[in-house]
C-alpha cells in the first residue's frame, strides 16, 4: 500500500472533520458570552424580557453545543489513529496541551451545562449565573488551549528534537510561541464576531418580519454595540496575524499573496488584488496589482522586503496556491463587509434611534444583517484553510513533515472511516438546519415567567 495515498486520505479526513467541527464551537463561544450578558442584565434590571431572551437563545445554544461536543471527539482521537507519528514526536507539548484542555476547560463547560440549561428552578439565581459564566469560561479556555497547541505547530518553540522526539525544555516558551497571541486572539474574536452577527442577523429577521420587533430590538442593539468593538478589533488582529505570518512563515505568506519574486532593496513589493498563481510555471498567469501595498501589509513600510516563492526551495512551498490566494481574500472581504455593515448601522442608529419603526423603514439594512449570518462561518473556514494548507508541507513548521507524521494504516481502514464521517456529517448538517429553522419560526415564548425561588435540593422529597 502506498504510504502517500494513506497520508493523503488521512489529510482529507482531518480536513473534513476539522472544518466541520469548527463550525460549532464558534457559536458556542460567542453565544455563551451573550447568555452571560443577558442573564446579568436580567439580574440587574429585573426586566423579564432578558430572562426570556436567555431561554430563547439557550435553545439554539444546546442544539449547536451538542453537535460541537460530539464532532470534537474524533479530532482528539485522530491525532493517535491517523497521526501516530506526530503524536509520538510531539506528544510532549501537544498532548499536554490537549490534556490541559480536557481538565481545565472541557470539563468545566460540561460540568455546569446541565445546571445552566435545566437548573433554573433547582438552584438559586446566583448559582445559576455562576454556572452560565463557567460554561462561557470553559468554552473560551478550550479555544485557548486548542489554538495554542495549533500555534505551536505553526511556530514551534521551547525545546529541541532529541532521538526523534520533540523534548520541551521551556514550557512557557512553547505555550507563548511567536504565533500564539495572534492566533488565539484572532480565532477567539472570530468566534465572537460570528456569533455577534448571528444574534444580530436573527434579531433583524424578526424585526423585518415584524414579529415581536420591540423584543428583538433589544438583542439587535446589543449585537450592534458589540460589533462596534469587535469588527475593527478583528481587522487589527487579522493585520497583526498576517505580519506575524510573513515574519515566521515566509513561504505561507508568499503563497497566500501569489508573490513570486523577492522585491529588490528600495523597491516596494506590489500586492495582487486578483491573480492566478501557477505552481508549475513559477509565476502568476495573470494579476491585477497595486504597487507597494504588499510591503506595507507585510512590513508596515513602503518598500520593506518580502520573500518571494522562487527563493524558497520547491519542496518547501505550500500546495494549492489558488485555494490559499482566494480563501484569504474572501476572509478579508467578509471582515471588511462586517465593518461596513456595523458602520452604516451605527450611523443609522445615531440618526434614527433604536425604535423598530425606524429600522423597518430601512429593510435593506436589516437584510444586510440577515446576509451576515452565514458569512462569519465562511470567513472562519477560509481562515483555517489558509492557516493549515499554508502550513504544508510541514506538520510542525520547519521541524516535521506531514508525510513523517502519518500513521501506517491499511488504506481500506481510512476509506471506511472517511466514508462514515462524510455520511454522518451530512445527516448532522441537514438535521441541524431543519431544527434551527423550526426554532427560528417558532420564536420566543413571551409568556415565560422566571422561577420565584429555587428549591434547595435538600428540601425536595427524594
Amino acid at each position: 500500500m502506498s504510504a502517500t495515498l494513506v497520508t493523503d486520505l488521512s489529510r482529507a479526513q482531518f480536513a473534513l472533520t476539522a472544518l466541520f467541527h469548527i463550525l460549532w464551537p464558534v457559536l458556542t463561544i460567542g453565544l455563551s458570552f451573550f447568555l452571560v450578558v443577558i442573564e446579568a442584565l436580567w439580574l440587574k434590571t429585573g426586566d423579564v424580557d432578558y430572562y426570556r431572551h436567555a431561554r430563547f437563545w439557550a435553545k439554539l445554544f444546546v442544539l449547536n453545543f451538542s453537535v460541537g461536543v460530539v464532532t470534537g471527539l474524533p479530532l482528539e482521537f485522530e491525532f493517535g489513529t491517523n497521526w501516530a507519528g506526530f503524536s509520538r514526536f510531539a506528544g510532549d507539548f501537544f498532548g499536554a496541551a490537549l490534556g490541559f484542555e480536557g481538565a481545565m476547560a472541557f470539563m468545566l463547560e460540561a460540568g455546569f451545562l446541565g445546571i445552566m440549561l435545566l437548573g433554573w428552578k433547582r438552584v438559586p439565581r446566583a448559582v445559576h449565573f455562576f454556572a452560565t459564566l463557567m460554561v462561557a469560561v470553559g468554552a473560551s479556555l478550550s479555544a485557548l488551549w486548542i489554538v495554542m497547541a495549533n500555534s505551536w505547530m505553526q511556530t514551534p518553540a521551547g525545546g529541541s528534537v532529541v532521538n526523534g522526539r520533540f523534548v520541551v525544555t521551556d514550557f512557557w516558551a512553547a505555550m507563548f510561541n511567536p504565533d500564539m497571541v495572534w492566533g488565539v486572539s484572532h480565532m477567539w474574536v472570530a468566534a465572537l464576531e460570528t456569533s455577534c452577527f448571528v444574534v444580530g442577523g436573527v434579531s433583524a429577521w424578526y424585526v423585518l418580519k415584524n414579529r415581536n420587533p420591540a423584543f428583538f430590538m433589544k438583542s439587535f442593539k446589543m449585537a450592534l454595540l458589540a460589533a462596534v468593538l469587535i469588527a475593527p478589533l478583528q481587522i487589527y488582529l487579522g493585520d497583526g496575524s498576517g505580519k506575524s505570518v510573513f515574519n515566521y512563515q515566509p513561504a505561507k505568506g508568499a503563497a497566500i499573496e501569489g508573490h513570486w519574486h523577492t522585491n529588490p532593496v528600495g523597491r516596494g513589493a506590489s500586492w495582487a488584488v486578483a491573480a492566478w498563481p501557477d505552481a508549475e510555471k513559477g509565476a502568476n498567469d495573470w494579476a491585477i496589482e497595486i504597487p507597494n501595498v504588499l510591503s506595507l501589509l507585510a512590513t508596515s513600510t513602503w518598500d520593506g522586503q518580502v520573500k518571494g516563492l522562487l527563493d524558497i526551495t520547491p519542496q518547501d512551498r505550500p500546495p494549492a496556491l489558488p485555494l490559499l490566494f482566494y480563501s484569504f481574500r474572501l476572509m478579508v472581504a467578509i471582515g471588511l463587509y462586517f465593518f461596513a455593515l456595523m458602520a452604516v448601522s451605527l450611523w443609522h442608529a445615531w440618526r434614527g434611534g433604536w425604535q423598530e419603526a425606524a429600522w423597518q423603514s430601512r429593510p435593506w439594512l436589516l437584510k444586510g444583517w440577515l446576509w451576515a449570518v452565514p458569512l462569519g462561518y465562511v470567513a472562519v473556514e477560509m481562515g483555517w484553510i489558509v492557516r493549515e494548507v499554508g502550513r504544508q508541507p510541514w506538520l510542525i513548521y520547519g521541524v516535521l513533515r506531514t508525510s513523517e507524521g502519518a500513521s501506517q494504516l491499511p488504506a481500506s481502514s481510512v476509506v471506511f472511516s472517511m466514508a462514515g464521517y462524510t455520511l454522518i456529517y451530512i445527516v448532522l448538517a441537514i438535521a441541524f438546519f431543519i431544527f434551527a429553522r423550526r426554532w427560528l419560526r417558532k420564536g420566543p415564548e413571551l409568556t415565560l415567567e422566571p422561577p420565584l425561588r429555587a428549591v434547595a435540593w435538600r428540601d425536595r422529597r427524594i
Binding site: 506528544g91 510532549d92 490534556g99 472511516s417 431544527f435 422529597r461
Partner: protein, 345 residues
C-alpha cells in the same frame, strides 16, 4: 522510588481514574441507552432519556479527559493504542456522535422515535466497541516500534466478542441500577426484574471471560498463579462480595444498593484487570514506562492538573446533587423539559 517512576505511577493513576470514572459514569449512561431499545413505548423512552439529560455530556467528558491525559503523559502509548485500534475506536466515535446528537435532537424533532432509536443503537454500538477494545487489550497485539503490523482486524476474535457481550450486559445492568434510583412505580418494577436477569447474565459472561483470560494472555496467567497473586485474589474477593450484595439488593428490592453494588463490582473488576495487565500498556511489547512522556512534561502536567482534579470531582458531584431525586417528567428539570415530556405524552 525515583522521580521518574513516581511521575509514571502518578499518571497511570490519573489515567486509570479517568478511565474508571468514564466506565462507570458513561457506563450507566450507555446502559440506559441500551435499555431504551427494549422500552415498551416512546413515553418511557423519553423518561429514561430525561433521567440522563443533566449528566450525559459531563459523563462523556471523562473520555475526553482520558484521551488528553494519555496523549500528554504517554504519547507513544496513546499513538500505539489509537493506531492499533483504528476500526473499533472509529466505530465507537461514530456511535458516540450519533448518540449525543440524537439525545438533543429528539427534543426538537417531530419524529421522536427515529432519534430515540438512534440514541439506543448508538449506545449499543459504543458499548460493544468498548467491549471489543477491552478484548483486544487483554489479548494484546504485535507491534513494530509501536506501530501495529497487520491487516487491521486483530481485535476481532471470538474472545473480544465475548468481552463485548460482557460490557453490553454490564452497562445495561448499571443502567437498571440508575433507573431504579430515578424512577417509581411500574417502570422501577420493570428495572428490578430486568436488572436481576442482567446481573445473572453479566456474572456468567464475566466468569467465562475470567476463565478464558489466562489462555489468551500468558502474562496474566503468570500473574494470577505466581507468588504475588494475593492482590488479585483480594480484588476477586471484593468482586464476589459485590456480586452477592447486588444480588441481595435486587431480591430485597432495595433502592440504592442495586446501583452502588454494581458500581463496586465494576470497580473491583477494573482494578483487578488493570493491575493484571501492568506494567504493559500493550502486551507483549509496550510498557507504560517505555511509553511515557519526558519527566519535564509529566511534571508540568502534574503541577497544572493535580489541583484541578478535586475541583472537577466537586462540581461534577454538585451537578449530580442538584438533579438528584426521581424523574417523572412533570417534576423533573424545568418547564422546558416539562413541555417536551408533556408533548410526547
Amino acid at each position: 522510588m525515583d522521580v521518574q517512576s513516581f511521575l509514571v505511577a502518578f499518571w497511570i493513576g490519573v489515567a486509570g481514574l479517568s478511565l474508571l470514572l468514564y466506565v462507570v459514569l458513561d457506563g450507566f449512561d450507555l446502559g440506559v441507552g441500551i435499555l431504551s431499545l427494549v422500552a415498551c413505548d416512546e413515553d418511557r423512552r423519553g423518561l429514561m432519556m430525561a433521567s440522563l439529560s443533566s449528566v450525559w455530556d459531563a459523563n462523556e467528558t471523562w473520555l475526553v479527559l482520558l484521551g488528553g491525559v494519555l496523549f500528554g503523559a504517554f504519547p507513544p502509548v496513546y499513538a500505539a493504542l489509537m493506531q492499533g485500534l483504528y476500526i473499533p475506536v472509529t466505530v465507537m466515535l461514530f456511535a458516540l456522535i450519533m448518540r449525543g446528537v440524537a439525545f438533543e435532537f429528539s427534543h426538537a424533532s417531530g419524529r421522536k422515535w427515529l432519534w430515540n432509536l438512534t440514541f439506543g443503537l448508538g449506545s449499543l454500538g459504543a458499548a460493544s466497541s468498548q467491549g471489543m477494545i477491552l478484548g483486544a487489550l487483554i489479548q494484546g497485539w504485535p507491534t513494530l516500534a509501536g506501530n501495529y503490523v497487520g491487516s487491521g482486524w486483530h481485535w476481532f476474535t471470538p474472545f473480544s466478542l465475548l468481552t463485548a457481550l460482557g460490557v453490553v450486559l454490564g452497562y445495561a445492568l448499571m443502567g437498571t441500577g440508575w433507573l431504579i434510583l430515578k424512577s417509581t412505580g411500574e417502570m422501577q418494577d420493570r428495572a428490578y426484574r430486568r436488572g436481576f436477569l442482567l446481573l445473572l447474565g453479566t456474572l456468567a459472561t464475566g466468569v467465562l471471560v475470567l476463565a478464558l483470560t489466562p489462555l489468551h494472555n500468558a502474562h496474566i496467567a503468570s500473574r494470577w498463579t505466581g507468588s504475588a497473586a494475593l492482590p488479585y485474589a483480594l480484588a476477586g474477593g471484593v468482586a464476589i462480595f459485590a456480586a452477592l450484595l447486588t444480588m441481595w439488593a435486587y431480591l430485597k428490592r432495595y433502592e440504592y444498593w442495586p446501583f452502588f453494588g454494581t458500581l463496586l463490582l465494576f470497580v473491583a473488576s477494573f482494578i483487578g484487570l488493570v493491575a493484571s495487565l501492568y506494567p504493559y500498556a500493550i502486551i507483549p511489547a509496550l510498557t507504560w514506562s517505555a511509553g511515557a512522556a519526558s519527566s519535564g512534561t509529566q511534571l508540568f502536567m502534574l503541577v497544572g492538573i493535580l489541583p484541578l482534579i478535586p475541583i472537577m470531582l466537586f462540581y461534577n458531584g454538585y451537578q449530580y446533587l442538584v438533579f438528584s431525586g426521581k424523574v417523572d417528567g412533570a417534576a423533573y428539570g424545568d418547564d422546558e423539559a416539562e413541555a417536551a415530556s408533556g408533548a410526547s405524552r
